[in-house]
């Protein structure tokens, strides 16, 4: 047996010269190495293609060793096709479909080689073009199709259920309706427009994506962020997490008809958005994180009022959470619904609260710490059941931990400049940045050309990893529980569709 193709290690927020990325002699040795590393417990964090001008297509794989706090990268030159990794390593399934859609390079033997986002081409028919959905035959089997326009204020997506009565055998999720061509725009945008595009990848994660984008930029231009700016970024990121987690608990309340929970959590979500507005001038924290630092300070008087409001919210949340989680009918409605096993979670490579609810102890803030999280750790919360109740409980616990973290940060804000100037980007280099957004792992990867311009901008939203988890959670469930299970994941359509 030949020796395994060795990947090079790198850390979160690190830049490396393109020539120091190991290139496998053959595609098969790269793929074998990925499959072997997955068996050893590493995760496939990213797998994407890049075609530099007049160069052949190159595929890059980024593995995450969460226990060793390291990332591993390797590449190989691709021809018109390559043997699909998916049968050996299901985590690769959507990445391979994406590579096929973006570059036409075919993963041979892929079990489900369906387009991902259906980018528009002249005269192309609407989604899903000529693709025929998976369907079951049988006298009493029926199909339910919903979307892209739904009943509530939800993003567009199409869902196909194969049912027997209420019982769901299979759910096929069709996305792509929100495809705005974000990666292409990022690759061609003037540098001043990049942060705005990053903040618009998923509007409820403006701070998370803004931060990941700023981190790659700083890494490529050798800029260090001051301790104060790093602390303020962490405050904004946790406020975003708080607003969304609290809002999600409220939405779960609404879906099970527990109106007091929905009303109180809904109002408290607004309290965190208003704190973000107080700090940044925008309820979603837009235009706050910028390459080099942040745009606004948190002066002492404002810090005092923040602390007061945070402590007040903390107390109110304790009361409302107790009311919600101690109500027997709430527990009865959430328990055992939409479960995902730890095995399925690991096979699919789920991330964020959805993975932690299955018992997967992974959190970028702990595994690949960045900024303030290198100095102040937030305990990771896990559950075992992987059902809606577990996903709700994880949110409740993360709300408590985030509140404690933000209060301690504001209480001890370090000194430092708000923003450092960023110079030109390093040439022919690759940089990665990982951020634990409220949905999970956000990854931005940038490759620059010989002029120091962006030649590839790869965005990986946590939803990209997690949509398949929702499809699996629906198996053998009642179709009427779909809204509830969907809400318990609350994935981003825009973040997936880019």
């Amino acid at each position: 047996m030949t020796a395994r193709f060795a990947f090079a290690s790198l850390r979160n927020g690190q830049t490396m010269a393109e020539h120091s990325i190991p290139v496998a002699p053959e595609m098969s040795s790269l793929l074998d190495s990925v499959a072997e590393q997955c068996r050893e417990g590493r995760r496939l964090a990213n797998f994407f293609g890049h075609r530099a001008s007049d160069q052949p297509l190159k595929l890059y794989a980024v593995m995450s060793d969460d226990k060793a706090n390291l990332l591993w990268i390797g590449a190989a030159t691709a021809g018109a096709s390559f043997p699909s990794l998916t049968p050996r390593c299901p985590q690769a399934h959507l990445f391979e479909r994406e590579i096929y859609e973006q570059f036409g390079c075919r993963p041979q033997g892929h079990p489900w080689l369906k387009p991902v986002r259906f980018p528009a081409r002249p005269q192309s028919p609407p989604i899903p073009r000529n693709y025929s959905f998976f369907h079951m035959d049988g006298e009493e089997v029926h199909e339910v199709a919903v979307g892209p326009v739904h009943a509530g204020i939800i993003e567009p997506g199409h869902f196909r259920f194969q049912c027997h009565g209420e019982h769901v055998f299979h759910l096929e999720i069709q996305l792509g309706y929100q495809h705005r061509g974000v990666e292409t725009l990022l690759e061609h945008a003037a540098s001043g427009r990049v942060p705005f595009l990053a903040e618009s990848i998923a509007g409820d994660t403006a701070v998370g994506h803004g931060l990941a984008s700023a981190m790659v930029w700083e890494s490529l231009s050798d800029v260090r962020v001051s301790a104060r700016a790093a602390a303020l970024r962490a405050v904004a990121l946790e406020l975003e997490r708080l607003a969304n987690h609290v809002g999600d608990l409220g939405a779960l309340g609404a879906d099970i008809g527990f109106v007091p929970g929905s009303a109180y959590f809904g109002r408290l979500r607004g309290e965190f958005l208003n704190l973000l507005m107080e700090l940044t001038g925008n309820r979603y924290g837009r235009c706050f994180v910028r390459p080099g630092g942040v745009t606004f300070d948190l002066p002492e008087t404002m810090a005092e009022s923040f602390l007061k409001r945070m402590k007040n919210a903390q107390k109110e949340l304790q009361d409302v959470s107790r009311l919600f989680f101690d109500t027997p009918s709430v527990f009865e409605r959430l328990d055992g619904v939409g479960a995902v096993s730890l095995n399925a979670c690991q096979e699919l490579g789920l991330v964020g609260p959805a993975a932690r609810a299955c018992g997967q102890d992974h959190d970028v803030r702990k595994d690949h710490p960045y900024g303030m999280y290198r100095f102040h750790h937030i305990p990771t919360m896990t559950a075992d059941e992987g059902d809606v109740f577990a996903r709700a409980s994880i949110r409740r616990l993360e709300i408590e931990r985030s509140l404690e973290f933000v209060i301690s940060q504001i209480d001890n804000l370090p000194q430092g400049n708000l923003r450092a100037a960023c110079g030109p980007l390093r040439k022919q280099s690759l940089a990665v940045a990982l951020v634990e957004g409220w949905r999970g792992e956000i990854m931005h990867t940038v490759i620059t050309d010989e002029e120091g311009r962006i030649s590839r901008y790869k965005v990986t939203d946590p939803s990209f990893h997690n949509w398949m988890g929702l499809a699996m959670a629906l198996r053998d469930q009642q179709i009427s529980d779909f809204p509830l299970i969907n809400k318990s994941f609350n994935l981003s359509y825009a973040g997936h569709d880019l």
């Binding site: 567009p156 309706y177 409820d204 007091p260 009361d319």
Partner: protein, 262 residues
């Protein structure tokens, strides 16, 4: 039961005082911007150069297009003479695309619909939301209108499940190519007479996604628009203000006239 009642009592009444009472926005809130051309120096184009979406058209006076504006602080920070400034005024929805272009410290308040439309929609307006490539920011603010603070239902305005139950569409996003057909079909399903409301920079001009080959620079060119609500995303009260003035439930005209009457 006892716990529920206790919680309910403790939560109290949280509905916003708007529109009857005052609203208090934080100091950093970026509301309607103003342009003071008298402060401009000849040949200076710092604001236009800094704008990420090309919302500023140079000239005397310079024109700021709120339909393209992302309400960031790039122009404000770049301007050496502080000619552009944000107010804390959240009222800035407009009936026409031209009304969104600001070149002074004044901007007309949203004009009401004609009498017949006001009679039809004034006391009960049902809207169907369509996300057509939005990042979910604007949609989140529309959703927020339903919470206990903004409580849209108290004005007889409601987001409904089906376009067939609706009096109009409220659209977010730059209209991606993949959503265009669904948007057109949803519009056709709404019984006439119907309204179209474009919310956010994307729906008005494409916003940060302007000139993407995958999107259509907003709703214009696909459907006729009756109300434009600028912002990225607009504050829920900006949307509410636009809706109420459109229905003639709040006065329209210039700010000075309206404020003097009070």
């Amino acid at each position: 039961m006892w716990d529920l009642l206790k919680a309910h009592f403790k939560q109290g009444h949280r509905t916003s005082a708007y529109p009857k009472g005052p609203v208090d926005f934080p100091e950093r809130f970026r509301g309607r911007p103003t342009v003071d051309a008298s402060k401009c120096t000849d040949g200076c184009q710092a604001c236009a150069d800094a704008c990420p979406t090309g919302a500023i058209q140079l000239g005397t006076p310079p024109k700021l297009d709120l339909g393209k504006c992302l309400f960031c602080q790039e122009c404000v920070a770049a301007c050496p003479s502080k000619a552009i400034a944000y107010t804390r005024d959240h009222q800035m929805a407009a009936r026409t695309r031209e009304d969104l272009v600001v070149s002074s410290t004044e901007m007309k308040l949203t004009a009401a619909l004609d009498k017949k439309s006001r009679e039809l929609f004034g006391r009960s307006l049902k809207l169907r939301q369509v996300a057509a490539g939005d990042c979910s920011g604007c949609a989140a603010e529309l959703q927020a209108l339903n919470n206990v603070v903004f409580d849209l239902g108290r004005f007889g305005i409601q987001f409904v499940a089906s376009p067939r139950h609706a009096d109009g569409l409220i659209i977010t996003g730059p209209v991606t190519d993949n959503m265009r057909l669904a948007l057109q079909k949803t519009y056709e399903a709404v019984p006439a007479p119907k309204l179209v409301i474009a919310v956010g920079a994307c729906a008005i001009s494409g916003g940060p996604f302007r000139d993407s080959p995958q999107a259509h620079n907003g709703v214009e060119g696909t459907l006729p628009i009756d109300l434009y609500v600028p912002g990225c995303p607009p504050h829920p009260l900006t949307i509410l203000d636009g809706l109420l003035r459109l229905l003639g439930r709040l006065e329209s005209g210039t700010r000075e006239e309206v404020y003097q009457k009070r």
